[in-house]
């Protein structure tokens, strides 16, 4: 097992190097002088000169890449053209917001999707089954941003029960510690802040959860159906175990494997979906940050976010693979 993990970690190196080359190339492929691209249109000649020196922009490309990589490994992505703040700082500021949104969404997607899939499979061809699968089919075809707008309209504008955007009610006294507001408000034993956080969190996370929820429901259902057809299930039923025990204790456990793969795969979709959901709900996360950066041609920020996003994505994929091996001893980790 140790060897397997070590090997997978080693395999990450070329991929991450490749990703860094793409991020590096971004500035050089963009039209115009790279120094001016990093400094922004309105920068003074002095600033441009100092950047040219810092990144060695008059040297050959491979030297430039190494100089840049050295800075990046130290966590220095340069400064944003728009705000003139350090990109790393801005990313780390926004990162907990994205984490809270994506994890909360994933939680909803797994709980609801898995349960819906199990129920559908145990009552195959019932009205409930058809309804769930019909909803799931719509779910996978849904444009996330449109769903977000519709939820906002229904719950925020027509019924006025939930806020339509933002992170927390600014009138509530609240101190930011970890940046994960649910955890922060629990640490501070701040009830009103917790309620407010959840109220602001619910619409964006439901919107973001829809696609993974639908996929998880579909995969769970088909995986459950396959398990339910197997001999050991028939044996259990024959020896008189109640249907509930058969399904929830024995079948569910065996049906979980493909679901875990799907959860891992969907994490990437969730990150991409976060770009859209955060934009719709003015959620102050990395997704909205990178979208704005592309619109403003803030290249250092785009570079930083790209590296950060793909790093997260690759790590999540790795964790999924390892979990998969841990859970199913039949898979050999070669």
């Amino acid at each position: 097992m140790k060897w397997y993990i070590a090997k997978r970690l080693l395999q990450l190196i070329p991929v991450l190097l490749g990703v860094s080359i793409i991020a590096f190339a971004l500035i050089h492929l963009a039209p115009g002088d790279p120094a001016r691209t990093i400094a922004g249109e309105h920068a003074s000649e002095q600033v441009i000169e100092s950047l040219r020196e810092k990144y060695g922009l008059d040297k050959p490309l491979h030297v430039q890449y190494l100089v840049w990589l050295k800075q990046v490994v130290r966590g220095d992505f340069g400064r944003s053209i728009v705000s003139n703040e350090y990109v790393t700082r801005e990313i780390l500021d926004r990162f907990p917001n994205t984490v809270e949104l994506t994890f909360f969404s994933m939680f909803i997607a797994i709980v609801v999707g898995f349960f819906a899939g199990v129920v559908s499979a145990s009552k195959q061809y019932s009205v409930l089954d058809y309804t769930t699968m019909g909803v799931a089919l719509f779910g996978v075809s849904m444009p996330v941003f449109w769903l977000g707008i519709m939820l906002m309209m229904i719950f925020g504008v027509f019924f006025r029960v939930l806020p339509i955007g933002g992170r927390i009610d600014t009138l509530i006294p609240f101190e930011r510690i970890t940046g994960l507001y649910i955890i922060d408000s629990i640490i501070q034993l701040n009830g009103p802040a917790l309620v407010s956080t959840l109220r602001y969190l619910i619409l964006p996370s439901v919107a973001l959860a829809t696609i993974p929820m639908a996929t998880i429901a579909r995969v769970t259902r088909s995986s459950m159906l396959e398990v339910l057809r197997q001999d050991f299930i028939r044996t259990e039923r024959a020896k008189g175990l109640s249907e509930r025990v058969v399904i929830y204790k024995h079948a569910v456990r065996n049906a979980m494997l493909p679901v875990i793969t799907v959860i891992g795969l969907n994490f990437g979709l969730l990150l991409a979906g976060a770009l859209l959901t955060e934009t719709v709900f003015s959620w102050p996360g990395i997704g909205r940050y990178v979208v704005k950066a592309v619109q403003m041609r803030d290249y250092p920020v785009v570079q930083g976010c790209v590296l950060f996003f793909s790093f997260m994505f690759v790590v999540v994929n790795l964790i999924t693979d390892i979990l998969y091996v841990l859970i199913d001893p039949r898979i050999k980790y070669k």
Partner: protein, 294 residues
């Protein structure tokens, strides 16, 4: 003789498609979309971009309300344009954008996938390493990055999405080429001394086309979705192009004042197009490639 058999084959496929109710429903949606795209000028009740703009008609509701304007059944947007007409013209934009993106992915994917699968060795591992790197990005993020480099606009968004989908296509082709390469008829070609290039174009590629059609259809669905997403983010189609995603972006701030229609209907158009293509793609997979049947 050959032609007749081919015809019988496609009839058979169509019959199977008709039996599969959800796939047939998908096909019907696709046909409606294509008709809307081709005959937009005839079907649409109004111009998608009337000049001069009729600002006095801004944000009027549709047939459900008494305040509605005659001839604008789904209401108007913030610039007084007919929502229905813009959706119909939008079919043209979204469908062609999706098709171009998928076509780019297919051409590049077939080229790289065939090279990797057929020649193997160093060519294969180089191409596949590159594919791995591109898979390290969430798809939409990669598309956005490409747009950041080549610039914003509908044409650029199509290219970006095409490039993003290429690795997926290349992987599919590669695995199918690997399988076909071992078939006896390829061995025969090698034995009678056919030139490699001929073997590739006459035998390998035509025989690996079935999964391309299946995944091409499913890919068209996500391409339309991603194109709309880029349009929504302001990185794809630019105003005044009647593109569904861009229409949504321009009108969703008005839902607060109660004008829900301008943002709702373009989204429904996206939803149903994607749904239709997904249903059709799933159905085609069952028919053309029974091995993949879930």
């Amino acid at each position: 003789m050959m032609k007749k058999r081919a015809q019988r084959g496609s009839n058979y496929g169509f019959r199977r498609l008709k039996q599969n109710r959800s796939a047939f429903f998908g096909l019907v949606i696709l046909v409606i979309l294509v008709l809307c795209a081709i005959f937009a000028d005839v079907i649409a009740p109004n111009s998608p971009n009337p000049t001069p703009p009729k600002l006095e008609l801004a944000l009027k509701p549709g047939f459900w309300s008494e305040e509605g304007v005659d001839g604008m059944p789904l209401g108007t947007d913030a610039l007084g344009r007919c929502v229905l007409s813009r959706i119909i013209y939008g079919t043209r934009v979204s469908l062609s954008a999706g098709l171009v993106a998928v076509f780019i992915a297919m051409v590049l994917g077939i080229a790289f996938g065939t090279l990797a699968g057929f020649f193997g060795g160093g060519v294969d591992s180089t191409i596949m390493r590159f594919v791995d790197i591109m898979f390290a990005f969430p798809a939409l993020l990669l598309a956005i990055v490409i747009v950041a480099v080549i610039g914003q606009g509908l044409d650029k968004a199509m290219v970006a999405i095409g490039i993003v989908y290429t690795p997926q296509m290349a992987r599919i082709i590669r695995s199918s080429v690997l399988y076909i390469k071992e078939m006896e008829y390829i061995e025969v070609q090698n034995a009678i001394g056919s030139r490699r290039i001929r073997v590739i174009f006459r035998h390998v590629i035509p025989n690996s086309i079935a999964p391309v059609i299946v995944y091409g259809t499913l890919m068209l669905a996500t391409a339309i979705l991603d194109c709309a997403a880029l349009g929504f983010l302001g990185l794809g189609a630019q105003p005044p192009t009647p593109e569904w995603g861009a229409m949504l972006a321009k009108s969703y701030s008005y839902i607060v004042s109660g004008a829900w229609w301008a943002a709702t209907f373009p989204g429904l158009a996206i939803l149903f197009s994607v749904l239709g293509l997904n249903l059709l793609g799933d159905g085609l997979r069952d028919i053309l490639d029974p091995r993949l049947k879930q």
